[in-house]
Symmetry: C2
Subunit: 325 residues, 2 copies
């Protein structure tokens, strides 16, 4: 095993200048990182663990594994309307899976490249980490900021508020299915959605002043809408016809299975939001300027439960297995 | 697998009142936690992963595993002189290791009890987490605060400064050796040191105004002194006779092996600090009031390297294996 210190230093050492500009007074290489939060802001923090062969295929490209581990964590900040600032990366790596040290290094180089490219894109400084030996998994802690009292939560939806989603749905499940069928071309639109999810950070920030509640779609639209409804104490009418389906999904799966994937597939990392109807047009305009569509798919109701689904039951999707239990 | 949400809620849900008093505006149950940092302070953050059978025996008591996973992370905050405030806990759990659901629940109850007791002792609120399925490991992110510009780092040691350690050394290695020899009595003094390490948070805070540099002893005194020396650009004279040995260590191992364990054993989670000689007495008095001894074990030198060791070479200790490579 390469020494932890060497690994972290070689692949993830901060540029001091970059770091200072980003509120990092002291980064990788001391016992802890020293960060300077902005006054009048609250911290928004979350941790997500990605386990090989549970949350991603262990033989996925290393770049995608690094990207994805950070992306799924950043998606939680997006759902709070936060500006992402810092992250910590705890990588557990089984060196026995590599033929030799140069294979390990090649994997780490790809992994670090995928992770770093996404972190830079969202001005998120890697402020620290830990590298340990064991079964491949990655726990990423993300830290963002919101002006005090301005965070989006799950609990603000009210009857009459519109339900909308960013981007398109079902791509995560469709991409996983494609992977399992042997597709390996990263430019395949569904596979790209699964391997390289895009955290909707800019959209979340834009929605902060417009939406009444938000959650990211990691477990599937119905499951995550359930969490939002529970936290807000509202019901929902959904229009299944209005679900935006990921590019290529209907062609790959047919309409029914594509809708099933959109409703229950998970791994989409789009934002599910509620907003007063008076805010919809402005929200759509602001997100359009970011290149992100915002589709209205239903409305919050007094009566609890979800209405408007066809007779066929849609169950939750099991992580990675690609099956409904 | 019990659903993640249920696990987190059942075992780790925050008391809302407690949480609000601790700067947690929104805790477990939304996409991310919302924390309120103190003005004029910097954040001190670190993550540590504890992997079963790498960092702790998988058959150790669940209470100890929970305690230890948090303790080793908090130790990094202690080394920065930080006041601990919040943590995030990412637990990866292999349910297949349990005979049935009630065995899983019993383990989780013990684990949560050990984790929670230590977090409460140090007023550290569990603000969020993630529970996933896979090989047993725990990544704990800890967040503390220091008045801006006041953090202890590894880089402030100067020639002439005294080198000192809190508590006693070698207990981690001695306790692991006892465990490997079949000792299972948690009141065994060495085993207790290994299974239930005490993060020196109060001592770190007290030393913040007195010490010039600090690091926690996780890899072993020599290895961690090496990190401190490298960061500060100093050498060190050590007095091996002055090393404070953990209770029972000499009886168990004999003098030579006890010193070897103290120098290279690791897993002690004591603080190694440097301080101007004029500060030593005051530091000892303040730590005595906390019940923590502070032993002078050497002095920083201009000449790089470590001096004063006997002819026998002391190598680093390998994590968990209990052997020098």
């Amino acid at each position: 095993m390469l020494a932890e210190f060497d690994l972290i230093r070689r692949y993830f050492t901060l540029s001091c200048n970059d770091a200072r500009q980003s509120g990092v007074a002291l980064g990788v290489g001391d016992d802890a990182a020293l960060l300077t939060p902005q006054p009048e802001h609250q911290l928004v923090v979350s941790v997500d663990t990605s386990v090989a062969d549970v949350h991603f295929p262990s033989d996925a490209p290393a770049d995608a594994i690094g990207h994805r581990a950070l992306a799924v964590a950043l998606s939680d900040l997006a759902a709070m309307g936060a500006t992402s600032r810092w992250c910590l990366m705890a990588l557990t790596l089984d060196q026995a899976r590599f033929a030799d040290d140069s294979a390990t290094e090649a994997w780490l180089t790809g992994y670090a490249r995928g992770f770093s490219a996404l972190s830079q894109r969202h001005a998120t400084v890697l402020a620290g980490g830990d590298v340990t030996s064991g079964s491949l998994s990655i726990a990423v802690t993300v830290m963002g900021e919101v002006p005090s009292g301005k965070a989006l939560t799950r609990s603000g939806a009210q009857p009459g508020h519109v339900i909308a989603v960013t981007g398109a749905l079902g791509g995560g499940a469709g991409g996983l299915a494609a992977w399992q069928q042997g597709e390996r071309d990263s430019s395949h639109p569904l596979l790209a959605r699964y391997l390289w999810p895009i955290p909707r950070l800019e959209a979340g920030e834009a929605l902060r002043e417009l939406a009444s509640a938000a959650i990211d779609i990691s477990d599937g639209l119905l499951a995550d809408l359930g969490h939002l409804r529970e936290a807000s104490g509202v019901g929902a009418d959904l229009s299944v016809d209005a679900l935006p389906l990921a590019e290529g999904l209907e062609d790959a799966l047919g309409t029914d299975a594509a809708r099933q994937a959109a409703l229950t597939g998970g791994d989409d990392y789009e934002l599910l939001v509620t907003l007063p109807s008076a805010h919809v047009e402005q929200a759509q305009l602001q997100l359009a300027a970011l290149g992100v569509p915002l589709h209205v798919i239903g409305e919050c109701r007094d009566a609890l439960g979800i209405h408007g689904l066809p007779a066929q039951r849609y169950h939750g999707w099991q992580h990675f297995k690609g099956e409904t239990p």
